[in-house]
Symmetry: C2
Subunit: 443 residues, 2 copies
């Protein structure tokens, strides 16, 4: 009998919970699902005899410690900055832990203590990070095993909307945390391009994009993500000339998002009080000048060469040229923008989201040069059973099973870049139709 | 016998300390000067029989409490975020306090407690904030007393370099904290312009400038500061159509600073490791593209219409086109830029700095409309006796004397916007040749 604690019953945990409840029936495990919202947790457990829903306040450290003592493994789907206390308790009481979040400094500091106790603290085991690591490392190891030398690695991933549900000019609806979408690209991106370290500051991330074509799906914008350099060592690609991780959006999205950014509408550093004194039109005008009356003309002049009819059309769809009312009493510009986008970019009950991931490798082997594309395309079923929830949740759930069935020898703080994790993980993901397609061309 | 504690013996405290030591001789006070650097404090006290230098660690709360118990008044010249513990101790032990910093939330929360004990917690009593409040409020009250109605208030202040020491193309040398200069304008500016609330995001603050001409000194750039709206209530200007507080730089400075900002060189959010792999030329190129080799051409294309020969000349002076070496092992782009500027913009021993402040009022009186200019121009003596230290330190010192000689009736958290403070303050500043010149024109 094994005990599993899942913390967090939100959107992205749907598949994770179902998978572990099913495995619990097979293996005679007990699953405790903890969430601040008890009825949300109960709705996920339903009448599964192996599951139990409880109410949980992460600030209640006593309850946390008490709960964790009773487990064999803890899956934390909390926001990343909340994993620290859970991880400390797991190490203190000798329990394994699984998350889909980036390795934090707190997590890193627990590596030796976890190793000494033979515990696994598995992180970055969702979609991005997660499936990207596993699928990229499998190819990297295969190319190296054949004697190949990788010179370039680029990897893009996007949480998008499936073509049949693509009903707005942005080609975008929210399948995950809207706040993260609004604040995306607010850090300088760092990557390696033809042996040169490159920086793109926040005000240019959405204009310095790369057009990406994916067979059968069409054209996308790829924009650079935060610090790609740190993955050179993690992926063992010390001789690479180009190393870039990025995000995918429908072609044209970035140009229009740039117009919002250039105006200042994604600023999260100050609060606009009495926000209802503005409409979205007059709010936008307040970022131009007191003499500007024609928003379209003034905005166009500001944005310059990055303005076109499609940008205008996307901004019109959001209501910027039709005095769309502001519904919040106050908020930062980013919060006011998010509130608008949540109305305009809502994933409706029957809507299907879509995940697209593409790795592009360049390597030389036997004096020939190759370009290898490895692509994943995953479509959601509806507003609840999203491709996002599936690809974020299943990897964590699958590796939790691998740990509980004693199939892993590793210990300490790990991510799914090692063979003993990525091989069984990718294999089981295939049984859920999460499959990468590969194509190779000579260059 | 009164006891005064001055915390902080840094650059901007020179005049403050001398003033209070002199007053101590006259009034038989004792001055304790506390600083982390004991010899710096001793150098300021010299052999003054009324002064004593002590070493001080602000983190040592026990010592802080013990020290404050012995005082009648505490002047804190610490960085703004460190005033909180000092203020709490002052209120606990019934002591007055004076700072040159903006009122913090912690400070605000002590208002009632201070009032109940008849204590004064005087803040914003330096140059800007400080002299600006006092001088503006005197004029506002005078216009109102005559029955005038103020429709527009703009106020600019700059810590600059005196014409005879103006030896570099930027027209700028550091007379105060270089870090604050590098990070200036990294918040959205908010102000009122012809009855409209206006926002300028950080990436446009140095291009949306106002040209300011000051008699006898020439042309300046005025750029908008943070939140000007909050001063509408503080100054009692509820019927004003325009309200703007800004910073002055030599004409042309802002255009060139914009080029640094647009590139991303003032970013303080990530650390560049192995910074010495770059020169300032290749660092700048890393913010363009891997194919860019001609920095000047690529930078010019990026900046577009805000590039001109003067911008190019200023950037050349900093070494951007001559492979100036980077001397720090690592740092954020802002830290690397600051390190360069500290070499290039150093105030030399015989250099004279300059303070310029200008208020511009528009008001109507007896059916006529007027524009009133009130300007302050102050020149430093050398690298130590700067106009900055004089205008920041003297107001705090003078009001400290007013408090200790029982000339103020007010209590609680106050700033120098009230008559019983600004009248004697401005009067005594005149005896130090800190004098505003006024001119009025009809409009």
């Amino acid at each position: 009998l094994k005990n599993i604690l899942i913390i967090g019953a939100g959107k992205s945990a749907v598949f994770l919970i179902e998978y572990l409840l099913k495995e619990a029936q097979i293996n005679n495990w007990r699953v405790t699902l903890a969430d601040a919202n008890l009825s949300a947790a109960e709705a996920r457990i339903k009448d599964n005899s192996k599951g139990k829903a409880i109410q949980f306040d992460v600030a209640n450290i006593d309850l946390l410690n008490q709960l964790i003592q009773q487990q064999d493994l803890v899956v934390s789907m909390l926001p990343a900055h909340m994993h620290g206390d859970v991880a400390k308790a797991c190490v203190a009481y000798g329990k394994h832990m699984v998350t889909a979040s980036y390795v934090s400094d707190t997590m890193k500091s627990l590596h030796e203590a976890a190793k000494n106790k033979g515990l696994i603290l598995l992180n970055e085991c969702g979609l991005d990070p997660g499936i990207d690591h596993a699928s990229a490392m499998k190819i990297i190891h295969e190319i190296k095993a054949k004697g190949g030398e990788i010179s370039s690695f680029k990897s893009y991933c996007g949480g998008l909307v499936s073509p049949e549900s693509n009903t707005n000019p942005w080609g975008y609806k929210f399948s995950w945390n809207p706040r993260n979408v609004v604040l995306a690209g607010q850090n300088t991106a760092i990557f390696l391009d033809h042996k040169k370290v490159q920086h793109i500051p926040q005000n240019r991330i959405f204009t310095q994009i790369e057009p990406i074509k994916i067979e059968g799906l069409g054209h996308f914008d790829g924009y650079a993500n935060r610090d790609s350099l740190s993955y050179i060592d993690i992926y063992g690609l010390q001789n690479v000339n180009t190393m870039l991780r990025g995000t995918l959006r429908q072609s044209g999205y970035c140009k229009a998002w740039n117009a919002l950014l250039a105006l200042g509408l994604a600023d999260d550093s100050f609060i606009i009080k009495n926000a209802k004194q503005f409409t979205y039109t007059t709010l936008a005008l307040s970022f131009l000048s007191a003499t500007a009356n024609d928003l379209k003309a003034a905005w166009k002049e500001l944005v310059g060469k990055y303005w076109d009819d499609e940008v205008e059309n996307k901004l019109a769809f959001l209501g910027f040229f039709s005095d769309e009312p502001i519904l919040l009493e106050q908020g930062t510009p980013a919060q006011l923008l998010q509130n608008l986008l949540e109305r305009k970019w809502q994933l409706m009950p029957e809507d299907k989201d879509m995940i697209v991931m593409q790795h592009i490798f360049e390597y030389s082997l036997d004096n020939k040069k190759y370009r290898l594309f490895s692509s994943l395309e995953e479509h959601g079923q509806d507003q609840v059973y999203t491709a996002m929830a599936k690809t974020v949740g299943l990897p964590a759930a699958i590796v939790a099973k691998l740990i509980l069935t004693n199939q892993l020898k590793t210990s300490g703080v790990v991510i799914p870049t090692i063979k003993e994790i990525y091989n069984p993980l990718l294999k089981e993901l295939e049984s859920f139709d999460v499959v990468f397609k590969e194509s190779v061309e000579t260059i």
